[in-house]
Subunit: 336 residues, 2 copies
DNA sequence: CTGAAAGCGCTAACAC
DNA sequence: GTGTTAGCGCTTTCAG
C-alpha cells in the first residue's frame, strides 16, 4: 500500500506538503505541486480513508437512507439511488446504502461512527420518525421529500401539490367535469407519505376550484386491483371522463381494465399520470403525464448536501415546478 | 462525540481494556467486561470508523459492485442489493454502492483507500474485465455469478445450466417436442453475461438430449418486442408447444401476444420461466418456474465474504441446485 | 488479567 | 512557500 510518506519521499518534499498540494488548502509553488502530482500518478497514490478519518476529517462518503417500504415502486426508487451514486461520484464521494430499521438506527449509527459525512433521506413521511434525529444535526442531511414541518431542514422534491393541480387543470381545460384520482397503495397514505398526500391535496383543491365532481381512490398493485378499481369507478361515477393515476405499475393494467369495461383511452376516458417520463411514454397508450424527475432530484439532493458539507448556505426547501407533457391519452371531452 | 477514553474512565479501566472487552481478542474477567458494557450502553458509545481504520483495521464496510447495465431487470437487481444490505447488517457491516464505470475504477478505488474490507460483484460476464483486479487480491471478493475461469475466485450463483435443462426436462416429460427459449435482451448475450449464456447452454443441451426441435431467441423489453417474437416463433416453428422464458418483464406481454395469435397458455402452449418466484406466481397466468433465489444468493454472498474476511476457508464455487415449481402454465401436450 | 505506550496514515497548527 | 510536530481515536504490542 502506497502512503503519503512514499509520495513525499519520491517528490522530495515533506508529507504535509503533499497533503496541502492535494487539498489546495494552502498555496504551493507550481514547481513542487507538479512534482507532487507526478509522484502521485507514478505511485498510484490514493489517500487512505482511515487515516483521513482519524485525523478528524471527512470520510468522503454520503449515506443514502431508503427504507424500501411496501407500496413503493422499486424501479423508481432505484433510479433515485443510481442518480445519487452517480452525482456523488462526480463530487468525489461514495455512497453508503441504508435500508433497514426504517432508517433511524442507521442514521444514528452512521452519525456516531462518522462512517458518512452526511445523509440523503428518501421516502419522507409528513411526520417522519427520523426528523428529530436529523434536526439534532449530528449529521448534515438533505431530504428528498418535504415533511409537514420542514423548517430547519433542507428538502428537495417535485411540487406534488402543483402536480396534482396541473393534471386537473389540464383535464378541466379539455372539458372534463368528473374526475378521479387513482392513487398509490393504501399503506402509502396510511403512513402519511409526504408526496402522495400532497398530490391528493392538489388534486382535490383544483377539482373544487373548477367545480368538478371528484373522487380519490388509493389502489394496490396488480391486474385484479386495477380491475376492481375500474369497475368501482364506473359504477360510482358513471359520468367519469377524466382519470389521474399516481401509481406507476398500475397504468397499463388500469387502461386494460377500462377497455374490458368498454371504455377506451382516450376515446371515452382521458387519462393523465404522475410518473417518470419513460414510464408514461412506453405505456400501452402513451400517457399525458407530469414527470417525476427522479434523476434530477437525486442529483440536486447530492449538490445540496455537498454544498452544506462545505459550509455554503443552502435553501431550505426546493420545490421543482411540475411540467406536463401531452401524449395520446388525453383529448377534449366528447371526441369519440 | 463519545470516545473510547470516555468509556474507559467511566468503567474505571484503561482504553485498551475497553477495546479488548469489545473485540473479545483477549480474555477479560466477567466483572470488568460487565462494567465496560454498562459504560458503553450508558454513554451510547460506538467506535469511530476513522480511528479503527487508521489503526490498520477493518472498516466494517462491504462494497457492492452492481453495474446497472442495459437489459438488466431493475427490480431483480434491487432485490439482490437489498438482501446484501440486510445480510451485511446482520454481520455488523455496512454496504457501499458501486455502480458506474463498469465497476473497475470503483473496485480499485475502494481497495486503495481501504474504504471497504471486501467487495461483492454482480452481473458477472464470462470474461469479466474486473477479474484481473479481483485475482490480484488486493480486495477480498465474492462474485454473484460464475465467469468462464472461476479458479482462484469465490463465486455463488444459481446453477443456470441445470435450470435450463430442468425446464426442458419438464416440458419433454409433458410430451412437448418443439421448444423455444425466449431469452434476455440481445446485449446481455453480446457482453457474454455468465448466467444468460449458461442457461442457453443448458436449454440447448437438454433439448438435444431429448431430441427435441429447439430454437433460442434473445428478446428486448416491451409489448412490441413480445409481439414480434411471438409472431416469429409461430411462423418459424408451427409445431411449437413449449416455451421457456428467461426475461422477467416479458412474461406477461408474451402470454398476451400468444393469445392474440390465437394460442392460449397453457391450452396450446406450455410455458415455463426462470425468474424470481413472486414474478412467476403473480403473472397473468401463474407460470411454472425455476426460481432465481435473489435473496438467498445475496445472503450467501455476504456470508462467504465475511468468512473470507475472518480468514476462514471458503468453497471456490457454490452452485445452488435449481428447483422447479409447477403452476398453471404447463400441461401435458394435447390437453386442449 | 490489565495498563502504559507506541503507532496506524493522515491533517493542521506552528514554526521558519 | 515549505518542514516539523503534534495530534485524531483506535488497536496492539510490550510489560507487568
Amino acid at each position: 500500500m502506497v502512503k503519503i510518506t512514499d509520495v513525499a519521499r519520491r517528490a522530495g518534499v515533506s508529507p504535509s506538503t503533499v497533503s496541502y498540494a492535494l487539498s489546495g488548502k494552502r498555496p504551493i509553488s507550481d514547481a513542487t505541486r507538479l512534482r507532487v502530482q507526478a509522484a502521485v500518478r507514478e505511485l498510484g497514490y490514493r489517500a487512505d480513508g482511515g487515516g483521513r478519518g482519524a485525523a478528524g476529517h471527512r470520510s468522503k462518503v454520503l449515506a443514502l437512507a431508503v427504507p424500501m417500504r411496501s407500496g413503493v415502486h422499486v424501479p423508481v426508487v432505484t433510479q433515485f439511488a443510481v442518480s445519487v451514486v452517480t452525482a456523488a461520484r462526480a463530487h468525489d464521494h461514495d455512497v453508503l446504502m441504508l435500508t433497514q430499521g426504517e432508517g433511524e438506527e442507521g442514521i444514528g449509527r452512521v452519525a456516531d461512527t462518522r462512517l458518512a459525512d452526511g445523509v440523503i433521506v428518501m421516502d419522507v413521511q409528513l411526520q417522519d420518525s427520523r426528523l428529530p434525529l436529523l434536526r439534532a444535526g449530528s449529521l448534515p442531511s438533505v431530504l428528498i421529500g418535504v415533511p409537514a414541518e420542514p423548517d430547519g431542514l433542507t428538502c428537495v422534491d417535485l411540487d406534488f401539490r402543483a402536480a396534482g393541480e396541473l393534471c386537473v387543470d389540464h383535464l378541466a381545460r379539455l372539458g372534463h367535469r368528473v374526475v378521479a384520482l387513482v392513487g398509490s397503495p393504501p399503506e402509502v397514505y396510511v403512513r402519511r407519505t409526504a408526496f402522495a398526500r400532497r398530490l391528493v391535496e392538489g388534486f382535490t383543491a383544483a377539482a373544487d376550484r373548477h367545480r368538478l365532481t371528484s373522487a380519490v381512490h388509493p389502489c394496490g398493485a396488480g391486474r385484479d386491483a386495477a380491475r376492481a378499481i375500474a369497475e368501482r369507478l364506473v359504477r360510482e361515477l358513471p359520468a367519469l371522463t377524466g382519470v389521474v393515476v399516481h401509481n406507476e405499475p398500475l397504468i397499463d393494467p388500469l387502461i386494460d381494465a377500462f377497455e374490458r369495461l368498454g371504455l377506451s383511452v382516450p376515446g371515452d376516458l382521458s387519462l393523465t399520470a404522475v410518473c417518470p417520463s419513460p414510464v408514461a411514454a412506453s405505456a400501452r397508450v402513451p400517457v399525458t403525464s407530469v414527470a417525476v424527475p427522479s434523476a434530477e432530484l437525486g442529483t440536486r439532493a447530492v449538490h445540496l448536501l455537498v454544498r452544506k458539507l462545505s459550509g455554503l448556505p443552502v435553501p431550505g426547501t426546493t420545490l421543482l415546478p411540475p411540467r406536463l407533457t401531452e401524449r395520446a391519452s388525453t383529448v377534449p371531452r366528447g371526441t369519440a
